[in-house]
């Protein structure tokens, strides 16, 4: 142990700072790179755990009838799969990227508030413990769906309270992290880096951070009302006391829809970084990309009730939310066209990060178009709460967000570890993931159209064939991620030495520092022309 830490010191030549070593290096860390690493590992652990829950779901749905879990346990699996994937896997992964990359990309020595940064990471741990431990309390984990609609969630046991507290803590963590990111971006850019010269990834995160600050308190409000309804005799969501169950849905989705973009905008940022690198051509339409991102962010606050088309809103409300939702496809389309124009007449190579990015553009667009189908209110009446919706949001969240994260990991891994990852295995991971993903989720469009509701543990026999296909795909998708873990660990332990530049077509400040990036970078700010 002592020798490795000593070696570590020699590597970086920063003994004078006296930063802690061993376990304390991580517990007390105020270093953006270490905190970024912790965020990414935390997120991966949560990804695997919530993925294991999904394996349980797919095992039960492999055939009609009840085989492995009882219906109440099944509902716990779907609920916690959703909660943990969203709040434990996707969101922290993007914060991990922000921690590592934002200071490196804008030429800052660290985040603006390093101690707050430490706190926002360590807040994740009690939240994760609350969520995981909730499986072991009387009555089992929360089972009312990740959306926690009352009155159902008022019926639940203490695990619902644990989930609510976990989300409160995660909300604090996200808000603190966002303030940190915004402050860093506004105050710590290298001289000469004007806002419109910032890398696109930094732009998308700046806008995401604002979305988080605006949306997370709304979630906290809804959850607090829920907990006072549960325990302190209020009736916000109970008609018998003058409340309204649908009020919760309005407040929840006012958070929930921006949340969707919180999970996809940084992914857009990653794509906008990777595609120009491997097309060896500058990003097409940088300015329109910035405006499109901002437009999506603004629109995301006025579309929430499209999640509630079947609640029986008045016609005027239904029309407004249908039109505003359809409008979102315009800026989203602009982004897709810009990526295609970036590839057009480039000089492309297809290393793993690029493979992931091209697949994301393709598959995310499928998710975007099915989103447009769902936006058409009369059609949504048939599709709402069916497997079609499950297919839709997995195309945007798995093949949009999660696969962008994987692409981003492969892209920056050489910079983080100093070694090239195993390209051959990376490609294997890409192909198995992409194929298994489509085998899992594409048939769900059909089961949804044919009328299979989501969140059911058992189904009529007409859905048996497609469900079996989906389950086989899901197991393959789950196993593929073990390969991802192996490739990453292999890369950390060794491999071809990475150059500073790493990728031939890479541009930006992060590629001017050594690989692996030294413990402290840009102590004197670089000059950006």
């Amino acid at each position: 142990m002592s020798t490795t830490t000593a070696a570590h010191h020699d590597d970086h030549g920063h003994e004078s700072h006296g930063h802690p070593t061993g376990l304390m290096r991580w517990v007390k860390s105020t270093n953006h790179k270490d905190i970024g690493t912790m965020y990414l590992w935390f997120s991966f652990a949560m990804f695997m755990f919530a993925g294991a829950l999904a394996m349980g779901i797919r095992a039960e749905l492999f055939q009609p009838g009840l085989q492995f879990v009882q219906p109440d346990v099944f509902n716990q699996l779907t609920t916690l799969h959703g909660l943990i994937m969203i709040f434990g896997a996707i969101m922290p992964a993007f914060v991990g990227f922000a921690n590592w990359q934002v200071p490196l990309m804008i030429g800052a020595p660290d985040m603006a508030f390093p101690r707050l940064n430490n706190m926002s990471f360590w807040l994740l741990i009690p939240a994760a413990i609350l969520l995981l431990a909730s499986f072991f309390v009387p009555g089992g984990a929360a089972s009312g769906g990740w959306t926690m609609y009352p009155p159902l969630s008022v019926q639940g046991g203490m695990s619902v309270d644990m989930s609510i507290f976990a989300l409160h803590i995660l909300g604090v963590s996200s808000i603190v992290g966002s303030i940190n990111i915004i402050t860093t971006i506004f105050n710590m850019r290298a001289p000469g880096m004007t806002l419109m010269k910032m890398p696109m990834f930094v732009w998308t995160w700046l806008i995401t951070a604002y979305l988080l600050i605006a949306a997370m308190p709304v979630l906290a409000g809804a959850l607090t009302m829920l907990i006072t309804d549960r325990h302190f005799g209020t009736t916000f969501f109970n008609a018998a006391g003058g409340g309204d169950p649908v009020l919760f849905q309005h407040v929840f989705w006012f958070f929930g829809h921006p949340e969707v973009y919180i999970m996809i905008l940084p992914a857009f940022g990653i794509l906008s970084t990777i595609i120009p690198t491997f097309a060896r051509k500058p990003l097409f339409g940088y300015a329109s990309m910035v405006y499109a991102t901002a437009a999506i962010a603004v629109l995301s606050f006025v579309v929430w009730a499209h999640h509630m088309f079947t609640t029986g809103m008045p016609v005027a409300g239904q029309l407004f939310f249908m039109y505003s939702t359809m409008l979102i496809s315009v800026p989203t389309g602009v982004k897709v066209f810009n990526w295609l124009a970036t590839m057009w007449k480039g000089s492309m190579t297809f290393e793993t990060p690029m493979l992931f990015s091209v697949a994301v553009v393709f598959l995310f667009t499928i998710g975007g178009l099915t989103g447009l189908v769902c936006a058409i209110l009369p059609v949504d009446i048939q599709l709402q709460d069916t497997y079609y919706v499950v297919a839709h949001f997995h195309y945007v969240l798995f093949s949009g967000a999660a696969m962008s994260i994987m692409g981003g990991v492969y892209y920056w891994l050489p910079k983080w570890t100093g070694h090239m990852y195993d390209e051959k295995l990376g490609k294997w991971h890409f192909w198995t993931t992409t194929i298994a993903f489509n085998v899992t989720f594409f048939p769900m469009h059909f089961t949804g159209l044919a009328g299979m509701p989501r969140r059911i543990p058992d189904y009529s026999q007409q859905f048996a064939e497609f469900n079996m296909i989906s389950s086989v795909g899901a197991f393959a998708l789950g196993i593929s991620q073990l390969l991802f873990l192996y490739v990453v660990i292999k890369c950390i332990r060794g491999g071809t030495k990475a150059t500073n530049q790493v990728w031939e077509g890479a541009h930006g400040l992060e590629w001017t520092v050594a690989s692996p990036a030294p413990f402290h970078t840009f102590e004197t700010p670089p000059q950006v022309k």
Partner: protein
């Protein structure tokens, strides 16, 4: 190159053929259910329109991408151009999608107005969602009944062969006359449910404490099946909806039979029952209404659903037992709205004198009737 591509194409088209061929057999349904109402037909057509438009956009856009992936590769020696802006192009690909959206929005808007128009209905049925059953109340006709899943537990637990309508069958279907505009008034007693019949193009949340409306006019006689579409707890997957659309004549016969049934049930309340008769009658009532939570064995699912066997209420004073069944408590619904006097007296007798309990006392249906007041 061609040698590599063709077997691949062959496999794909082979797969596609298998898929198309097997659609005649219902197992690989690829599209919305065949519509039997005007609204459902409009939805079906709207969906097809949008799917074809989206598919066309998708094919054009990704044809461009795959062309580029093929031609603009470093390995074929393509040199990267350095352009990064083109204002005309950017304006075009903002405006064209906006125009396409307008084309989609127009028919959709028309359908929305039609869906919302519940005026001039020929009849109204109030539908109430309970955990986990539906209640149908034919307003002004004195017909009111509960509709429960009729698939057996053995089928669900893979102990016997699954029937044709596994999980989509009920004991008491909703019956409506063909060609009549039926207004459905929806509410719920406990949590939010959603009443969904795909062939009618109707899906409406049933929200406790609120009344929501929907309507349908079925043009074709037949049996149409749907399911609850809003997560409502443990047995959410087990509360199907079955609607039988029949001729006016058949509907009237059914209506008369239902009214007679209700009258017979009410009459039973005035006669004196023996313990054995009540217990025997109570078994069926219990298994239909209570077993989903308290289990057929009476073991319950604590802590949410207490055990009947040796339970505090079921072995305690009779009055307390009756009170909880009539008025409910926490998740337990108030059964006075759902069961008649004989059924309540029977289930009390069954719970106290079977399922491992032998308290020995019973309550007469006439006493239940009195306690309601």
């Amino acid at each position: 190159m061609n040698k590599k591509v063709f077997p691949f194409l062959g496999t794909i088209s082979g797969l596609a053929l298998t898929l198309v061929a097997s659609t005649t057999h219902a197992a690989y349904d690829l599209n919305l259910k065949a519509p039997v109402t005007e609204i459902a037909t409009q939805i079906y057509d709207l969906h097809m329109l949008i799917v074809w438009v989206c598919l066309a956009i998708f094919v054009v856009v990704f044809a461009v991408m795959f062309y580029s992936l093929y031609k603009h590769r470093k390995s074929v020696g393509h040199k990267a151009a350095q352009f990064h802006e083109h204002h005309t192009l950017e304006i075009i690909w903002t405006i064209i999608p906006a125009l396409i959206l307008i084309v989609m929005a127009v028919p959709a808007t028309k359908t929305i107005f039609a869906m919302k128009d519940t005026s001039e209905a020929d009849m109204s049925v109030k539908v109430t969602g309970y955990q986990w059953k539906w209640e149908y109340d034919y307003l002004d006709k004195n017909v009111k009944f509960i509709s429960n899943l009729s698939t057996t537990q053995d089928q669900i637990n893979n102990k016997s062969e699954k029937g044709e309508n596994y999980l989509l069958e009920v004991d008491n279907p909703m019956v409506v006359p063909v060609g009549k505009k039926v207004r459905v008034i929806l509410t719920a007693s406990d949590v939010i449910h959603a009443w969904w019949v795909p062939a009618f193009g109707v899906k409406q949340d049933a929200i406790p404490g609120f009344i929501k409306e929907a309507w349908f006019k079925a043009d074709k006689e037949g049996t149409y099946r749907g399911q609850c579409a809003e997560l409502c707890g443990k047995a959410h997957g087990y509360m199907p909806i079955v609607v039988e659309v029949v001729s006016e004549e058949k509907y009237n016969t059914w209506l008369a039979a239902k009214a007679e049934e209700a009258a017979a049930g009410a009459a039973g309340a005035d006669k004196e029952w023996t313990k054995d008769d009540l217990v025997a009658n109570g078994k069926a009532v219990y298994e239909k209404n209570c077993a989903v939570c308290h289990q057929a064995s009476g073991a319950g699912l604590p802590p949410a659903f207490p055990a009947i066997t040796g339970g505090k209420v079921t072995t305690g004073p009779l009055e307390g037992h009756l009170d909880i069944i009539l008025n409910g408590k926490n998740i337990m619904p108030a059964w006075k709205a759902l069961l008649n006097d004989v059924e309540i007296a029977s289930v009390i007798a069954y719970e106290r004198n079977a399922l491992g309990n032998s308290v020995g006392d019973i309550i007469q249906p006439s006493a239940v009737k009195a306690a309601r007041k």
